[in-house]
C-alpha cells in the first residue's frame, strides 16, 4: 500500500484528527487524517483509493478492536472524528461520481425509545465502512421507516432499541415494514436484544456490536 495511505489509515485507527490535536500524545505535532488526506489528493491519488484503502481500512481496524474489547467507545469516537476529517476532502467527489459509496443504510431507534448512543456508534462505523447513512433519529414511528425505504430503493435498514419495554415496538416495526418489504435486509441491535428475539420477530440479522453489522453489510454488498 502507498505509504501516505498507510499513514492515513493509522491516523484514523488511532484517532489522530489533525496537526493541532493533542491526541494521541505520541503523535502530538504530527499531521493527522485531515492534512494527510488533502496531501494524498494533491499528490494525485484517486479519492476512491483514499476512501477504500485508507479511511475505511482505519475504521475497519478500530471496529475489530472494539468488537474484541481491545479498545473502548472513546477510541471509536476519536477514530470516527479522524475519519470525518479525511472525508471532508473526499465528499466533493461523491457528487461527480468519482467516488461511490457501497450503498444506503437507513437507521433509527424504534417508537417509544429515545436512546441514541448505540445507534450513533453503529452509524459511525457503517459510514466509516463506506455507506451513506440516513439517520431517522430516535422514537421513529413505523410509517417514517417505510417512507424512508420508499425514498431509498435498495437500501438496508437498521433498527435499534435499548429498553426491554421497547423491544415490543421493534417487533411491531418489523411486522409493519415486512408488509411492504418482505425481503428487505433488516438488522437489529440494542442492549436487551438476543439472536433468538431477532429471529422471532422476523429480522434478518442481529449484531451485538457495530463491527458485526459492518461485516453483515459487507456480505450483502459483495
Amino acid at each position: 500500500m502507498n505509504e501516505l495511505l498507510e499513514k492515513i489509515a493509522i491516523c484514523v485507527e488511532r484517532g489522530k484528527i489533525n496537526v493541532s490535536s493533542p491526541y494521541p500524545p505520541d503523535l502530538k505535532g504530527q499531521e493527522g487524517a485531515d492534512e494527510l488526506s488533502k496531501k494524498a489528493l494533491d499528490s494525485g491519488i484517486p479519492p476512491q483509493d483514499i476512501l477504500n484503502n485508507a479511511l475505511i481500512v482505519g475504521m475497519q481496524k478500530i471496529g475489530v478492536k472494539f468488537r474484541d474489547n481491545k479498545v473502548f467507545v472513546p477510541d471509536v469516537l476519536m477514530a470516527a472524528k479522524a475519519m470525518s476529517m479525511g472525508m471532508k476532502h473526499i465528499k466533493p467527489f461523491f457528487a461527480s461520481g468519482a467516488v461511490k459509496r457501497k450503498g444506503v443504510f437507513v437507521i433509527g431507534t424504534v417508537a417509544g425509545d429515545l436512546h441514541d448512543i448505540g445507534k450513533n456508534l453503529v452509524s459511525m462505523m457503517i459510514e466509516g465502512a463506506g455507506w451513506e447513512i440516513i439517520d431517522l433519529g430516535v422514537d421513529v414511528p413505523n410509517e417514517k421507516f417505510v417512507k424512508a425505504l420508499d425514498e431509498h430503493p435498495g437500501c438496508i435498514l437498521g433498527l435499534s432499541a435499548l429498553l426491554t419495554t421497547t423491544m415490543v415496538n421493534m417487533e411491531k416495526a418489523v411486522k409493519s415494514i415486512r408488509e411492504k418489504y418482505p425481503k428487505l435486509p433488516i438488522l437489529v441491535g440494542g442492549a436487551p436484544l438476543t439472536k433468538e428475539f431477532a429471529e422471532k420477530i422476523g429480522a434478518s440479522y442481529y449484531s451485538p456490536d457495530p463491527q458485526g453489522a459492518v461485516e453483515y453489510l459487507a456480505k450483502i454488498a459483495a
Partner: protein
C-alpha cells in the same frame, strides 16, 4: 431473629453472611401502575411505598438526592405534548423526556461542551454550600426520623462523577474529552466531588447520618465499560476514592450501582473502597460468583438475577435463574442482597414477582 438493619449491616458493612440474605428491589416507573390492575393494593402508590409492602430490608430518605447542577432548579420548558416534554436543565442541557414513561432522555443539545464554557458559566456556582439544593428540609427531616426509627437499613442516594459528567457534557463530549482534554475532566470531577462532600457533610450535621450511602454511577453498557480501565483509573477512580473515604470517615458504608459490563473495573472499585456492588447485569455476561471469587468476598453484592428470566413470566424459567444463583451464594458464603439485575419492568407480572419473593423466602438462607 435479626432485624433488617442487622442483616444489611452484616452483609454490606461487615461482608459477613447473617442468618439470611438481604432483600431489595428497584422498578421502572410504569410497573406499580400496571400491578394495580393485577391486584396490588392502591395504597402502594409508587416505588417509594414498595419497600414497606414487599418488606425490603433497605429504604431511602426522600430528598437526599439533591440537584447538583450549577443553575439550581432550572427547568425551562420549551415544548410539551401529551407524551413528552422538551426542556433545558441546570447544565444548559436541552433534552426530551417522557412524561408518563420511564427511560433515559433524548439529548438534543449540550451547552457545557468545553473547558472554557465550564469555567465561564458552570464552575463557580458549584464551589459554595447551598442548602436550598435539598428543597423542603423539614420534609426531609421528617422522612429521616420516620425511617430511621424503623428496623430497616436506611440510605441517602445520589449520582457521582461519571454519571454527572454524562448528564452535563453528554456521552460524546465526555468520552472524547477524556482523551482530548483530561485536565478539564479532572477539574470537573474535583469540583463535583468537593461539591457533593460539602453538601452531605452539611446534611449529616443538620439532619443526621443514615445507615449508608447508595450511589448510582453507570460506567458500562452490555458489551463493555464505557471507557478503558486505564481511563477509569486516571479520571474516575481518584474521585470515587475521595467520596467513599468521606463516607467511611463518617462511618457509612457505600453501595455503588453501575449498569453494564464493569468486570474490568472490579479491582479499581475495590481499591476505591466500595462496600457493596450493585447491580451486576447478567445479560452483560456477569455472574456474582465470578466477582466474589475475584474479590475474595471482600465486597458485598446486590443483584445479578437476570430480568429476562422474570420477563418470561414462566415459573420454571424463573426458578432456573434464581435457584442456582442462591445455591452458589449460599455455598460460597457470599454476602448478598436479593435483587434483579436492573429494575422490574411492567412486563413482569405481579404474580411472577411475588413468586420470586416466595423463592427468596424459601431459599434465601445461608
Amino acid at each position: 431473629m435479626q432485624t433488617s438493619r442487622e442483616i444489611i449491616n452484616a452483609i454490606i458493612r461487615d461482608k459477613q453472611c447473617p442468618e439470611r440474605m438481604g432483600l431489595h428491589e428497584h422498578y421502572w416507573a410504569e410497573t406499580i401502575g400496571e400491578w394495580h390492575k393485577q391486584g396490588l393494593p392502591a395504597y402502594v402508590k409508587d416505588g417509594a411505598d414498595a419497600p414497606w409492602y414487599f418488606n425490603y430490608d433497605l429504604n431511602w430518605v426522600d430528598g437526599t438526592w439533591f440537584d447538583s447542577s450549577p443553575i439550581r432548579g432550572q427547568n425551562i420548558v420549551l415544548e410539551e405534548n401529551d407524551d413528552t416534554v422538551i426542556s433545558i436543565n441546570g447544565w444548559g442541557n436541552k433534552s426530551r423526556n417522557w412524561k408518563k414513561r420511564s427511560g433515559t432522555p433524548e439529548h438534543l443539545g449540550f451547552d457545557c461542551t468545553s473547558a472554557e464554557i465550564w469555567r465561564a458559566k458552570y464552575r463557580e456556582p458549584l464551589l459554595s454550600l447551598d442548602p436550598a439544593r435539598f428543597g423542603d428540609l423539614q420534609k426531609l427531616k421528617n422522612d429521616y426520623k420516620r425511617k430511621m426509627s424503623t428496623d430497616r437499613w436506611i440510605y441517602y442516594s445520589n449520582v457521582l462523577v461519571s454519571e454527572i459528567l454524562r448528564g452535563a457534557l453528554g456521552d460524546v463530549v465526555m468520552l472524547e474529552s477524556m482523551y482530548m482534554d483530561p485536565d478539564w475532566i479532572k477539574d470537573f470531577n474535583d469540583v463535583l466531588t468537593n461539591h457533593l462532600i460539602m453538601h452531605y457533610d452539611w446534611l449529616f450535621r443538620e439532619v443526621g447520618k443514615p445507615d449508608g450511602m447508595f450511589i448510582y454511577e453507570d460506567m458500562g453498557y452490555t458489551g463493555a465499560p464505557f471507557f478503558s480501565p486505564e481511563l477509569q483509573r486516571e479520571l474516575i477512580f481518584p474521585y470515587h476514592k475521595r467520596f467513599i473515604g468521606f463516607c467511611h470517615d463518617n462511618g457509612l458504608p457505600l453501595v455503588m450501582h453501575s449498569c453494564g459490563k464493569i468486570r474490568p473495573f472490579l479491582q479499581s472499585i475495590f481499591d476505591a473502597g466500595v462496600d457493596c456492588l450493585q447491580v451486576l447485569e447478567a445479560k452483560a455476561g456477569q455472574h456474582v460468583a465470578e466477582f466474589a471469587e475475584a474479590a475474595g468476598n471482600k465486597l458485598a453484592y446486590m443483584g445479578n438475577l437476570n430480568i429476562r428470566a422474570y420477563e418470561t413470566n414462566d415459573r420454571a424459567k424463573l426458578e432456573a435463574e434464581i435457584l442456582p444463583k442462591l445455591d452458589t451464594v449460599r455455598k460460597n458464603r457470599i454476602p448478598y442482597v436479593f435483587h434483579s439485575d436492573h429494575s422490574i419492568p411492567a412486563s413482569v407480572s405481579l404474580a411472577t414477582y411475588e413468586y420470586s419473593l416466595h423463592l427468596f423466602k424459601r431459599y434465601g438462607y445461608y
